[in-house]
């Protein structure tokens, strides 16, 4: 096992590269993934190394891309499909939820769908309504589908390898703002997977538990560092996998601090933060010294373009500090 410094993007590219090299069943498909190497270059170099039968440029047909991946998976391949932006998962939702997620159950275990759908998501990159969305809430209500959101290069690699090895469909959401801005140590080697369904404590703390995922992990850590100077000690939990949710980790942190702040980049109402809050409200009630609090984006249809509006939309370290401070004082 060696460890190298990589960006989130390099870690993801490396995981696909190695999965293709190690397992003949793995194929990569999507729009612009082969010749161009992906609009974010996440698949750069793979065509040259593995050829056009395993790294496949697909037409602009998201339902077709996911549906074809399902067919491949039914035959025993391990397709990794890229949807160019999470905002364009919508045309494929019927295939993802009605087909892939329900295939094993509806056939009583006779068929299964081991496929991964990768999609860049998230805002803060001036991408406006249709290149910034947080779409996880659309995918966390259908059992049969796993949903993964890595927050570090190490996890991105390890979780992606675990997702490819998983016997069921996995939606793998990559925060595009972190692709090149985030670097970190990555353990490579075939055994270095990160299991799905296990959260990580990124920072232990006594006063308030922040439960979050994706880019908000880093905003929360920034907020925690800043609040430490004020004597408020935040614990930061990175869920890493939304489905299956690591309920134990969520309830354990609340048991430790008695205060839960759920931080979400998505808008508030109907978002996945509600599920976390509900789990705590149901099963951690006796441990709570203050109401559960959700910090999320305003309830508007999506992220607006102009910087002033985008800043108003995005949850930031500063907003987290305000909310955590208030909660600590409750």
């Amino acid at each position: 096992m060696t460890t190298t410094e990589q960006t989130l993007l390099e870690a993801i590219r490396g995981a696909m590269h190695d999965a293709l090299a190690w397992d003949a069943r793995v194929v990569v498909l999507g729009e612009d993934v082969a010749v161009k190497g992906g609009v974010f270059l996440a698949t750069d170099g793979l065509l040259e190394r593995f050829g056009a039968l395993r790294v496949i440029d697909m037409p602009i047909a998201e339902a077709g891309i996911v549906g074809v991946a399902i067919g491949m998976a039914l035959h025993g391949l391990r397709p990794v499909a890229e949807i160019q932006f999470a905002d364009y998962l919508y045309p494929a939702i019927d295939q993802i939820l009605n087909e892939a997620a329900r295939m094993r159950y509806r056939s009583n275990g006779d068929w299964n769908c081991p496929l991964v759908i990768r999609a860049p998501f998230g805002g803060g990159i001036h991408g406006a309504l249709y290149h910034s969305q947080s779409v996880e809430a659309l995918f966390t209500s259908t059992p049969g589908l796993k949903v993964v959101v890595p927050a570090t290069p190490h996890d991105a690699r390890g979780l992606l390898l675990a997702a490819i090895a998983d016997p069921d469909p996995v939606l793998f959401l990559e925060h595009k703002r972190l692709y090149r801005t985030l670097r970190g140590p990555v353990a490579t080697g075939q055994g270095a997977t990160v299991p799905l369904g296990v959260a990580a404590c990124r920072r232990p703390g006594r006063d308030v538990s922040i439960i979050t995922y994706g880019a908000m992990v880093h905003e929360s850590l920034r907020a925690a560092d800043a609040l430490a100077h004020e004597g408020v000690d935040l614990e930061v939990i990175d869920l890493r996998t939304l489905v299956p949710l690591d309920r134990d980790a969520v309830l354990a942190t609340v048991r430790r601090t008695g205060r839960a702040l759920i931080v979400s980049e998505d808008n508030l109402t109907g978002g996945f933060a509600g599920e976390i809050a509900a789990v705590i409200a149901e099963h951690g009630f006796a441990d709570l010294d203050a109401p559960v609090r959700r910090l999320a984006a305003p309830d508007v249809p999506a992220v607006p373009f102009s910087e002033t509006l985008e800043d108003a939309f995005m949850v930031s370290a500063a907003k987290i500090m305000t909310a955590a401070r208030e909660l600590a004082r409750y």
């Binding site: 039968l53 077709g64 549906g67 056939s107 796993k146 016997p167 069921d168 299991p195």
Partner: protein
């Protein structure tokens, strides 16, 4: 060529066995409607009228070798591929032993991994992309001489997913045969309200593949056209769109009343062209089969279906405790987690 007036395209054994399956399929269909009227089957969707199309298709398919991605109307097809009347009754009655879904899907959702019959949802048109993916996988895996067949109604050709499937198959020239069971209606809506052109086969031109109209009530015509298309696919000659013109002889499902949207005279006219009677005549006329043999086949089919009904009736329902089985598979090397699956 291969029509009722052409040279016999099938051997006598093939012809007789095809006829037997058609009759068997109709007997199952008859029984299902009866069970529905008795309140013993909650959902029935008919294949009556489509038997020549479906059994003709099967004559070009190597069961368990070629993949088949069917739709809800394909009961005669899966019978021809080796499912039994008992399998179908277990399915219709939602028994634990239902081989298609263990009682989870309603009738018409045929599946068998061993037979390479792929499980479908009820969403019209959503399954063709799976056929395309399977064909892609065959190519990637170097599995030569194998093809994929998928079927659908003409109404399904309006769906976006239908288009994406044909587009990808056309671009990649994949070994898929797309079979439209073109039966004039999508539930209540006649062809012209569903399809902007007279023949679904005309759509093939936009996907760079051949399109062909076939008399879907003529078993041999279907078998021959299918064999041509499958041969092309197996020889890496690309996909084909086949339109089998036929007619659904009963209402769409047990929830439908077809008198609301079509004239009895129209249905009667098609009844006169029933594909089973028509092929029975061919057997007598061209293959020298004695009418008594046909009667015997019918009697045997009814007896089989009676037995299948008794078996299915006696078979146990799924145990409620199995409701959360097969949500996810087992992850190799993962420790079992305590996460509760049942909250109710």
């Amino acid at each position: 060529m291969g029509s009722d007036d052409g040279p016999p395209a099938l051997s006598a054994a093939e012809a007789l066995s095809a006829y037997t399956v058609m009759v068997q399929a109709r007997a199952v269909d008859d029984r299902l409607w009866q069970l529905s009227r008795q309140g013993r089957a909650h959902f029935v969707i008919t294949s009556a009228g489509h038997e020549a199309t479906q059994v003709g298709m099967a004559l070009a398919i190597r069961a368990g070798h070629d993949y088949v991605v069917p739709y809800y109307r394909d009961m005669a097809l899966v019978l021809a591929l080796g499912q039994t009347p008992r399998d179908l009754l277990l399915h219709a009655m939602g028994r634990a032993a239902d081989p298609a879904s263990g009682g989870r899907q309603m009738y018409g959702h045929f599946s068998s991994r061993a037979r390479r019959i792929v499980s479908g949802s009820s969403s019209v048109g959503s399954h063709l992309v799976h056929a395309v993916g399977l064909a892609f996988a065959l190519r990637i895996g170097g599995e030569r001489d194998t093809a994929v067949v998928t079927s659908f109604g003409e109404g399904a050709t309006a769906e976006g997913a239908w288009h994406e499937a044909l587009t990808i198959a056309g671009i990649q020239r994949l070994p898929v045969v797309f079979v439209c069971e073109s039966n004039q209606y999508a539930i209540s809506m006649p062809h012209h309200a569903e399809v902007p052109v007279a023949d679904v086969a005309l759509k093939a031109a936009g996907y760079g593949m051949p399109g062909e109209v076939v008399d879907g009530n003529d078993l041999r015509a279907v078998a021959l056209a299918m064999r041509r298309a499958m041969a092309r696919a197996r020889a890496d000659g690309g996909p084909t769109l086949l339109e089998c013109k036929t007619y659904r002889l009963r209402p769409h499902s047990n929830a439908d009343d077809d008198r609301r949207y079509r004239a009895a005279a129209e249905v009667d006219a098609w009844r006169a062209r029933d594909p089973i009677g028509r092929f029975g005549e061919v057997l007598v006329r061209e293959y020298g089969v004695a009418p008594a043999v046909l009667a015997q086949i019918a009697g045997q089919a009814r007896a089989e279906v009676d037995q299948a009904t008794l078996d299915a009736d006696a078979a146990p329902a799924p145990h409620p405790a199995t409701i959360a089985d097969h949500v996810f598979g087992t992850v190799a090397g993962a420790a079992p987690r305590s996460e509760d699956q049942r909250h109710a």
